[in-house]
């Protein structure tokens, strides 16, 4: 736990300093998006890396958060601050339903079913052509259809903050979601629930004989992680002032999946590392954008085949070797002191 704080705190300070040090629109905008995706990936990592459920419904949960927030704002006139939490709760309910339907199945079946759920949501939204209300002479659909859902406003930072700092509002809101999401993730991984999952992975028979039921814990993590995923969706909707079916594109799901895989599945700091790496790579590939998919695909294949522990696993291995080397160097001088230092 102390180690987690030692890593997390400097990162947080850095994130707070960045917009004041580089207050350009570009930096603030990219970082906000980074916080949103990183928050989603930390929760996905809990579901896949810790609970061992290979779900591909993460973006569907995200979209539920965003769409419910937008719809409450648009149709019921709720403030987005209130709607945001309703969106998070809706995501939890949705996720629990998906969990009940899927979690009793084996690995690959879960992946396929959740992928199908995401795809169904996408299809239902883009084929939505019925008029729900009229805006002047234009017909608007309930879900916003292919144009996306708009007209529900934003979090109102432009009224609250001086013009120069208006963009900081969304920045810090997204950062707050990421921080709580990360704290939740650390908490789960270090808690008895996280240990129960580790026990299940290491020795299923023993864990079951100790009365550790996988389904109950999986459902718990699946539902709880949806809260932050939904909140991230809500922040996304409020930030861009439009919620569209593009969040449900397969390529978007795969982009976030790559963040998780390349960062390191099941590791606390993997998602952050992966999200940062992927956004940087994406930025670097802007020049050759027509080969973006190829680059993404190659990275996925190479990491899974060659380096399945991801960047976080790599960092840890280097750190361990460094520690061992320093112990060894020390031991070469005075072995007995190392022995006593260990105690």
């Amino acid at each position: 736990m102390r180690k987690d704080v030692a890593i997390g705190l400097p990162l947080l300070v850095l994130a707070i300093v960045v917009p004041f040090a580089w207050p350009t629109r570009y930096v603030v905008e990219e970082m906000t998006l980074f916080f949103i995706w990183a928050a989603v990936v930390t929760q996905w990592n809990l579901v896949f890396g810790v609970a061992g459920v290979f779900s591909l419904a993460q973006m569907a949960i995200f979209a539920i958060g965003g769409y419910v927030t937008g719809m409450l704002g648009l149709y019921l006139g709720w403030s987005l601050w209130l709607a945001m939490f309703a969106g998070g709760l809706a995501a939890v309910v949705f996720s629990a339903l998906v969990g009940v339907a899927c979690l009793r199945l084996r690995g690959a079946y879960v992946a396929l079913l959740t992928l199908a759920i995401t795809q169904t949501m996408y299809l239902l939204i883009i084929t939505d052509t019925e008029c729900f209300y009229m805006e002047g002479v234009t017909c608007r659909n309930f879900t916003g259809g292919t144009r996306g859902l708009t007209g529900y406003g934003d979090f109102g930072f432009h009224q609250l903050l001086p013009h120069k700092y208006a963009a900081f509002g969304d920045y810090f809101l997204a950062l707050a979601v990421l921080c709580t999401a990360t704290a939740f993730s650390v908490f789960i991984i270090r808690s008895p629930v996280g240990l129960a999952f580790k026990a299940l992975r290491d020795n299923t028979v023993y864990a079951i004989s100790r009365g550790i039921g996988r389904f109950k814990y999986q459902l718990l993590v699946f539902a709880a992680s949806a809260l932050f995923t939904g909140l991230a969706g809500a922040v996304y909707a409020g930030h861009f002032r439009v919620m569209g079916a593009n969040t449900l594109y397969l390529s978007q799901t795969l982009f976030l999946l790559s963040m998780m895989i390349i960062g390191g599945v099941g590791q606390i700091w993997g998602p952050l590392l992966g999200a940062a790496a992927l956004m940087l790579v994406d930025e670097a590939l802007k020049e050759v954008v027509e080969w973006r998919l190829l680059g993404l695909g190659l990275m996925l294949v190479v990491f899974v085949v060659v380096w399945p522990k991801g960047l976080a696993g790599g960092v840890e291995a280097i750190a361990r070797r460094w520690r061992r080397d320093s112990v060894r160097a020390f031991a070469a001088v005075r072995p007995e002191e190392v022995a006593s230092a260990k105690e």
């Binding site: 339907a101 009793r104 084996r106 690995g107 199908a116 998919l293 695909g297 294949v301 399945p308």
Partner: protein, 292 residues
């Protein structure tokens, strides 16, 4: 009466499309546990290979089909050599294969997109014409797909059940260590299965593209439907997959007719979830229910 025939005809057409997309996938997943997410890419590559053969090389239809089969075999074998081979001994084989083949799918899509462009093309390797059945126009292609899917499914089922190679494939899927002890070259079996699955997928891709169009992303939808067919039928059951494909096709056609086209897929999904809650290993599946 006319309505019923109409639904039946379009249901069978859809079902045949599902069945033909399912064969290669079902073989690789059911027999050796490789859930190949690049299967859609295999379909696309097969379709474009036939297109390129006919358009650029001026090949006749049978030769273009042969070229497509060759391309399918090549990508299938490449998938084994560059990806599957390295994962055979790892713990999370199932999920890692899914992730790695998703990566392959992206690579295939990107390469096809750059080589042929995003604009949908018309597949030149086709049978022209059609007939009217109960006021529904049925292209000869649909009938060909129906015949091909039934034949191919039965052929694959026969190979698995009756031949020495089929027995070896089943042995590897049931107990890899024991298969090794019997002298089965396990790695070669994986290569064989992926190559055959590539050929079947490529030929399916040519046939599918005759009734839709050729596009770099045309593989995803049939692949998703094929997954659903496999899940409903239960893994590794070829005849079950055939029944499931046609049943789902007829179901989708009815829902489209009575509720509207956009509810076809969601209705299928709902049915699948209910099916799996009732039978977690599929309607025709025979798996042992795990305790956890």
């Amino acid at each position: 009466m006319n309505t019923a025939v109409q639904i039946l005809v379009s249901g069978l057409t859809l079902g045949a499309m599902y069945a033909i997309s399912t064969i290669g996938l079902s073989l690789a997943w059911g027999a050796v546990g490789v859930l190949n997410m690049a299967q859609g890419g295999f379909l696309v590559i097969g379709g474009y290979a036939a297109y390129a053969g006919a358009t650029y090389l001026g090949l006749s239809a049978p030769l273009a089909l042969a070229l497509s089969a060759l391309a399918g075999a090549a990508v299938g074998a490449a998938t084994y050599f560059f990806v599957i081979r390295f994962m055979l001994d790892c713990d999370n084989f199932e999920t890692n294969v899914i992730i790695a083949t998703v990566g392959l799918a992206l690579i295939f899509e990107n390469v096809i997109l750059q080589a042929f462009g995003a604009y949908p093309l018309r597949q030149p390797v086709r049978i022209e014409g059609g007939v009217n059945i109960a006021a529904t126009y049925v292209p000869y292609e649909s009938i060909a797909i129906l015949a091909a899917s039934v034949t191919a499914m039965m052929a694959v089922a026969w190979v698995l059940a009756r031949t020495r190679m089929g027995r070896a494939i089943r042995a590897v899927s049931q107990n890899r260590a024991a298969a090794l002890l019997m002298g089965v070259p396990v790695n070669t079996v994986y290569l064989q299965v992926l190559t055959i699955s590539g050929v079947l997928a490529a030929l399916s891709g040519v046939m599918l593209s005759t009734i839709t169009t050729l596009a770099p992303t045309m593989g995803y939808d049939p692949m998703l439907k094929a997954f659903i067919v496999c899940v409903v039928a239960g893994l590794g059951n070829m005849y079950g997959a055939l029944y499931a494909a046609f049943a789902l096709g007829i179901l989708e056609a009815s829902v489209q007719f009575f509720l509207g086209v956009r509810f076809g897929f969601p209705a299928m999904l709902l049915l699948i979830i209910l099916t799996l809650v009732w039978r977690p290993y599929g309607v025709f599946g025979r798996g042992v229910t795990q305790r956890f």
